[in-house]
C-alpha cells in the first residue's frame, strides 16, 4: 500500500508526535505549576548550583520567543500559493517552541527562586512564562483542525503573541530597569506618546523634606537596584518611606533615634570585606558624607516630614566610625612626578644636608626646615633654593639670618602652605610681599619686627587660617582687620 502526499505525511507525523509530545510535556508543565504555586521567589539567595543553572535563562529564552512569533508568519505567508508548503511546518515549529518555552520557564524559576528576586515584576514575569507554555500547547492542539477549533486557533495564536510581548517586557524591566523602553526615548516621541518622565529613583518624600532631599536620593543611587521595585533582596525595599520603615524579612532596618542600633546603618558602616556590608558586590560604597547624613537623619528620629533646613554644601557629619584606607604608593607615578625636581633636590641636599626632604614617599612636594641651621642660613642660601621654589610647600626659617632681602625669593614659593619666620630680622616689607602666596594656611611671625601696618596685606590671603604673632607689635594692637580676628594667635 503506497500512501503518499505531503499533506498526509505531515498530518500523520504531527498527529503522532503531538500525542507523544503532550504526554512528554504534561509532567514538566505540572512541575512548573507546582513550583510557581508553592515555591515562589522569596528574595533570598539560594543554592549556587540552581543559581548557576538559572543564569542560562536569558540565553535560552530567546529561541521560544522567536519561534512563537514565527508561527503567525508561517500561517500568513503559507496562505499564498507560492509558500503553501510552509503551513506544514507549523506544528513542528510550535512543538519546538513549546519544548524550549517550558525549558526556559524552568530555568527562569531557578533564577528567580535562587537569585534573590521578589516582587510583582518577577511574579508577573514567571506567570507570563507559564501561560505562554499553556497557550502554546493550546495552539499546538488546535492547529490544523477543523470546525470550532479552526476558529479558536487564530485567537489563541494572537493571545500567545500578546503574552510573549507582555512577558518579554517584564523580563526587560527586570534586567534593564523599569523604564528601560522610555528612559532614553527622544523628547518629541515622548510627547507624541504622552509618556511622562519616569519618577523611579527620584525623591518620593516631598521636595522640601530632609528625607526627600537628602536621604532618598542616596538610596535611589546606591540601593534600589536590589531593594526596589524590581528586586527586593531580603524582602526589603528602599524606594519609599513606608517600605523603608517596614523593613525586610530580617525585621526593621531603621530604629528612629538610634543610628547605631539600626541594621541599615550598621551594614553601611561595616568594613567592606564584611559579609553583611552594604551596598554589596561591585557597587559604589556610600561616602563618609552620605553615611553622616543617614546617621543624622536616623538620630533625629528618621522623620518623613521634617523639613530640610540645611543650606550650603551640606552638613558636617557627626562623628562616624570610619576606617582609614591606606593606598599603595605607585612608585612609577612618583618617579614621574619627581622627574622635574629630583636632580635639583639631590644637588641642593648636598649643600644643605638634612633640611630639605620630600613631604612623603608618594609626593613631589618638598619640606624645608632651615631653622636647623640657625644663623648659618642667610639670604644668599635662600636664593640658592630657587630651583625648588615651585615644590616647597612648608618652609621654616625660624632663627635664621634671613632679612627682607629674601622677600622676593619667599614670595616666589607660590605653593607654600606653612611659613615660619619666627625670630628673624624680616619685617613688614617681607610680609607685605607675601600676597602672592594664595595657598598659605599658616604663618608665624613670632618675635619679628612686624607691625599692624602689615595686616591689611595678610587679610587678603584667603586661605590663611593661623597667624602666629606673639611678641610682636601686633600682639598689643587693638584694631585688627575683621577677617583676621579669629586667626591671630598672640599669646
Amino acid at each position: 500500500m503506497s500512501v503518499s502526499g505531503p499533506d498526509f505525511t505531515t498530518l500523520w507525523v504531527s498527529r503522532i508526535s503531538r500525542n507523544r509530545l503532550s504526554l512528554v510535556l504534561v509532567a514538566p508543565t505540572l512541575l512548573l505549576l507546582v513550583l510557581l504555586l508553592f515555591f515562589p521567589p522569596t528574595g533570598s539567595e539560594g543554592g549556587a548550583l540552581l543559581q548557576f543553572i538559572g543564569r542560562f535563562h536569558p540565553i535560552a529564552v530567546h529561541l521560544p520567543i522567536a519561534l512563537i512569533l514565527l508561527v503567525p508568519v508561517l500561517e500568513l505567508v503559507g496562505r499564498t500559493q507560492q509558500f503553501s508548503y510552509l503551513q506544514a511546518s507549523v506544528p513542528f515549529v510550535l512543538g519546538v517552541a513549546l519544548l524550549t518555552a517550558l525549558a526556559a520557564s524552568l530555568l527562569g524559576w531557578c533564577l528567580a527562586r535562587n537569585g534573590g528576586y521578589s516582587g510583582p515584576l518577577v511574579t508577573q514575569h514567571l506567570w507570563g512564562g507559564f501561560f505562554v507554555v499553556v497557550i502554546s500547547s493550546l495552539c499546538l492542539g488546535l492547529c490544523g483542525r477543523e470546525g470550532r477549533a479552526a476558529r479558536l486557533y487564530p485567537i489563541a495564536l494572537a493571545a500567545s503573541i500578546g503574552l510573549v510581548g507582555f512577558t518579554g517586557y517584564r523580563g526587560g524591566q527586570l534586567s534593564l530597569g523599569e523604564d528601560h523602553l522610555t528612559e532614553y526615548m527622544p523628547g518629541t516621541l515622548r510627547k507624541v506618546l504622552l509618556v511622562s518622565r519616569s519618577s523611579a529613583g527620584r525623591a518620593t518624600g516631598g521636595a522640601a523634606t530632609f528625607y526627600g532631599v537628602r536621604i532618598q536620593p542616596i538610596f535611589a543611587g546606591h540601593c534600589i537596584s536590589c531593594h526596589g521595585p524590581s528586586k527586593q533582596r531580603a524582602g526589603l525595599r528602599l524606594d519609599s518611606y513606608a517600605a523603608l520603615m517596614r523593613g525586610g524579612k530580617h525585621g526593621v532596618v531603621i530604629k528612629p533615634g538610634d543610628a547605631r542600633g539600626s541594621d541599615l546603618f550598621r551594614r553601611i558602616t561595616l568594613p567592606p570585606s564584611h559579609d553583611d556590608f552594604m551596598p554589596k558586590e561591585a557597587k559604589q560604597p556610600l561616602s563618609g558624607d552620605q553615611i553622616g547624613l543617614i546617621e543624622m537623619w536616623i538620630a533625629a528620629g528618621a522623620s518623613k516630614t521634617q523639613p530640610d533646613l540645611m543650606t550650603g554644601p551640606g552638613p558636617q557629619p557627626v562623628t562616624v566610625a570610619a576606617e582609614v584606607r591606606f593606598a599603595e604608593i605607585d612608585y612609577a607615578a612618583v618617579a614621574k612626578k619627581r622627574a622635574a625636581v629630583d636632580a635639583a633636590l639631590i644637588e641642593l641636599q648636598k649643600r644643605f644636608p638634612n633640611i630639605l626632604e620630600y613631604e612623603s614617599r608618594g609626593s613631589a612636594d618638598i619640606l624645608l626646615n632651615a631653622s636647623l641651621l640657625g644663623p648659618r642660613f642667610a639670604d644668599e642660601d635662600l636664593a640658592a633654593l630657587a630651583p625648588l621654589q615651585d615644590h616647597i610647600v612648608t618652609a621654616d626659617f625660624s632663627r635664621t639670618a634671613i632679612t627682607d632681602r629674601s622677600a622676593p625669593a619667599i614670595a616666589a614659593m607660590k605653593r607654600l602652605r606653612v611659613l615660619r619666620l619666627m625670630d628673624t630680622k624680616t619685617s613688614d616689607v617681607t610680609v607685605q610681599s607675601l600676597t602672592t602666596l594664595d595657598q598659605l594656611e599658616s604663618l608665624s611671625v613670632f618675635g619679628t619686627k612686624i607691625t599692624p601696618a602689615a595686616l591689611p596685606a595678610l587679610a587678603r590671603l584667603t586661605k590663611l587660617q593661623h597667624l602666629y604673632a606673639g611678641e610682636t607689635a601686633i600682639s598689643s594692637t587693638r584694631s585688627l582687620p575683621e577677617s583676621l580676628k579669629n586667626k591671630i594667635v598672640r599669646e
Binding site: V324, E357, S360, L372, V418
Partner: protein, 520 residues
C-alpha cells in the same frame, strides 16, 4: 651606651664567605630562622613538583612574591648615617612627638572623669559584681566605693569636665582631645608601662620612640633623635627598657639625658683635652672600628662609630639645647622652672628647646602618681595634689609655647599614665587605711593628646557611671599607637622590621585600628 657595648660582641661571623658584602651576609644569616627554613622547605618541595610540569609556574610565583616584597617600605640607610631623616609614607600631620608619661598611673577619677553617681555611693560597700573574676594588686575582701576627692567643673568653650587640680592645663581644654576609654591588660606598673611604650608587656620589644626614629630618622644630626628626661625622684618601674630599641638596631634607642648639671655625663672634654685633640682620638678609634667592621660585618660596630661621632657633635649642641639658663626670666616663671634643679618644669622647657631644634621624639617621665594611700606621698589628698602642682603649670606652659610659635600644628603632645585607678578605695589586707588611695585599674584610663591632625576640645569614649569599665568606644593601646603612627604619616602595617622571621611592627600581631573618631 652600655647596652650597645654588650651587643657588639653578640654575634661574630667569619669573613671567609667571599665577596658578599658583610652587611648583606649578616642580615641573611640573622634572618634565617625556623620559619624561613620551614617556608623554603615547603616551597622547595612544591617547586620540585611544579618543575616537572611547567617551570613557568614557579617562575611566576617567584616574580609575584617579589612584587609583594616591593610594596614594603625601604628604611635602609648608609650605615654611617643611621639617623638620616626619611620621608614618611604619607604626608604627615605631625613631625615630632612630645610624650609626657605620668609614671605610676594618675587617677582619672580625680582629674578628667566626672562621676557624680560614684560620689553618691561614696563609702558604700562595693557590689560583688565589680569584684567577680577581677585581680587587684592590693584590694582584698569587700572594698568601699570612693567618690572623687576633688570638685569638678566644665571648662573652655568645649565644656569638658575637669577637676580643680589642673587649673593651668584647664586653660588649654579647647586644644585637648581626651580619650577616656583607654584599656590595658596589665595591672602592674612595669609590664603596663612596657605595654604603653612598646605595645608588648614583655621585655625585648622596640619602644614607640625607637620605631619613630627608625621610620623617620631625625632632622638634627647633632642631637640624639630620641631623648628621654626623668623627674619625680625615681625612674619609672619599667626602667630603661621603656626607651629601648628592642630588636631594632640599638642606634634607635632613646638617649636618657640628665635634667641638671651636664645633660650627658662626660660629654665635656676634661681639662687639658682640646677639641682638635678629641677629634684626633676619635679618628683613631674610628679607624680601629672600621677594621673590625670590615672583618666581622656586624652593623652594631657601625652603630658604635656613629655614636662616637654623635657624641662629638653633641659636645657643642646638646649642652646648648639643654641649657635653660639661656631662656629669659619670664619664661622660667611661666614654666615654674628653676635652673639647676631637676624638675618636670625644667624638663618641659628643655622639651620645647629640643623640639625647636628638630629632635624627633622627646619623652618625659614624671614619677610619683601611684596613689595607693599607703603613705602621705601616695595619698590622693596629699601627694597626689603635689604631683598635680608639679605637672600642671609646666605642661600648660609647654602647650602655650608650642601654640604661640605655631609648632602645635606639627607636634603631637601626649599626656597619660599606664593604667587607671579603681573607683574603690584601696583596703590593703582588707583593712581601712590611714590615707585615701585607689588601687590599679587596667579596665579604663584616660590619656589626652593635643597637636596636629587631632580633634580639639573633644572627649572620645565613655566609662560606666562608676568610671570602672568602658561603656563606649574602647581604645586598645595598639589602636592608640596605630593612630599616632597615622598622624606621623604611616600605615602601621607598613612600618616594619624583619626580625625572627617576622615582619615586626609596633602595633604587634593583633589587629589594630586607627581611631578615626579623634582625627581632625
Amino acid at each position: 651606651m652600655a647596652d650597645s657595648e654588650s651587643r657588639v660582641c653578640r654575634k661574630t661571623y667569619s669573613s671567609s664567605v667571599g665577596e658578599v658584602h658583610p652587611d648583606v651576609q649578616f642580615a641573611a644569616l640573622e634572618a634565617q630562622t625556623r620559619r624561613h627554613f620551614l617556608r623554603s622547605l615547603s616551597s622547595g618541595v612544591g617547586a620540585l613538583f611544579m618543575g616537572t610540569i611547567a617551570s613557568q609556574v614557579t617562575h611566576a610565583a617567584i616574580v609575584g612574591g617579589a612584587a609583594a616584597e616591593g610594596t614594603r617600605l625601604d628604611f635602609r640607610r648608609d650605615p654611617t648615617t643611621p639617623l638620616l631623616a626619611l620621608p614618611p609614607q604619607f604626608p604627615a600631620k605631625v613631625r615630632r612627638v612630645i610624650y609626657l608619661h605620668m609614671a605610676g598611673a594618675p587617677s582619672q577619677l580625680e582629674l578628667f572623669e566626672h562621676k557624680p553617681e560614684l560620689k553618691r555611693f561614696d563609702g558604700q560597700d562595693c557590689p560583688a559584681s565589680f569584684l567577680a573574676g577581677k585581680r587587684f594588686a592590693f584590694i582584698s575582701g569587700v572594698p568601699k566605693l570612693l567618690g572623687s576627692q576633688y570638685p569638678f567643673h566644665q571648662a573652655g568653650q568645649s565644656g569638658q569636665w575637669i577637676s580643680d587640680r589642673l587649673p593651668h592645663i584647664e586653660q588649654h581644654m579647647d586644644d585637648l582631645c581626651v580619650i577616656k576609654s583607654m584599656r590595658t591588660d596589665q595591672f602592674n606598673h612595669a609590664p603596663a608601662q612596657l605595654l604603653v611604650q612598646t605595645v608588648n608587656p614583655r621585655l625585648g620589644y622596640a619602644s614607640f620612640g625607637s620605631w619613630v626614629l627608625y621610620g623617620l630618622g631625625t632632622e638634627n644630626q647633632n642631637l640624639p633623635g630620641f631623648i628621654v628626661l626623668l623627674s619625680g625622684g625615681k625612674s619609672p618601674d619599667g626602667g630603661k627598657q621603656l626607651w629601648s630599641s628592642g630588636f631594632l638596631p640599638s642606634v634607635y634607642q632613646g638617649v636618657q639625658c640628665r635634667s641638671h648639671g651636664e645633660p650627658v655625663l662626660y660629654l665635656d672634654n676634661p681639662s687639658g683635652v682640646s677639641r682638635p685633640l678629641r677629634r684626633t682620638m676619635l679618628d683613631a678609634i674610628d679607624d680601629i672600628n672600621q677594621q673590625t667592621y670590615a672583618a666581622f660585618g656586624n652593623p652594631e660596630t657601625v652603630t658604635r662609630i656613629a655614636q662616637y661621632e654623635l657624641a662629638f657633635r653633641m659636645q657643642m649642641d646638646a649642652t646648648d639645647a639643654m641649657d635653660i639658663r639661656k631662656e629669659p626670666e619670664g619664661v622660667h616663671a611661666k614654666y615654674g622652672a628653676k635652673p639647676g634643679k631637676a624638675s618636670f618644669a625644667n624638663n618641659c622647657l628643655v622639651a620645647r628647646r629640643l623640639a625647636e631644634r628638630g629632635v624627633r621624639f622627646i619623652q618625659l617621665y614624671h614619677w610619683g602618681w601611684d596613689s595607693h594611700g599607703s603613705d602621705a606621698k601616695e595619698a590622693l589628698n596629699l601627694g597626689f595634689a603635689d604631683r598635680c602642682r608639679e605637672v600642671d603649670q609646666p605642661t600648660a606652659a609647654l602647650l602655650s609655647d608650642l601654640k604661640q610659635r605655631g609648632m602645635l600644628e606639627d607636634t603631637l603632645v601626649v599626656w597619660g599614665g599606664e593604667f587607671g585607678r579603681t573607683p574603690m578605695r584601696e583596703n590593703r589586707n582588707g583593712q581601712e587605711m590611714k590615707y585615701i588611695g585607689r588601687d590599679h585599674n587596667p579596665g579604663a584610663f584616660t590619656i589626652w593628646m593635643a597637636g596636629g591632625g587631632v580633634k580639639r576640645g573633644v572627649s572620645h569614649g565613655e566609662t560606666d557611671d562608676m568610671g570602672y569599665e568602658i561603656a563606649k568606644d574602647p581604645v586598645e593601646i595598639r589602636d592608640f599607637h596605630a593612630t599616632m603612627l597615622y598622624l606621623l604619616g604611616f600605615d602601621h602595617h607598613k612600618l616594619t622590621y624583619q626580625f625572627q622571621g617576622l615582619q615586626q611592627k609596633l602595633t604587634s600581631v593583633k589587629p589594630a585600628r586607627v581611631v578615626t573618631e579623634v582625627l581632625a
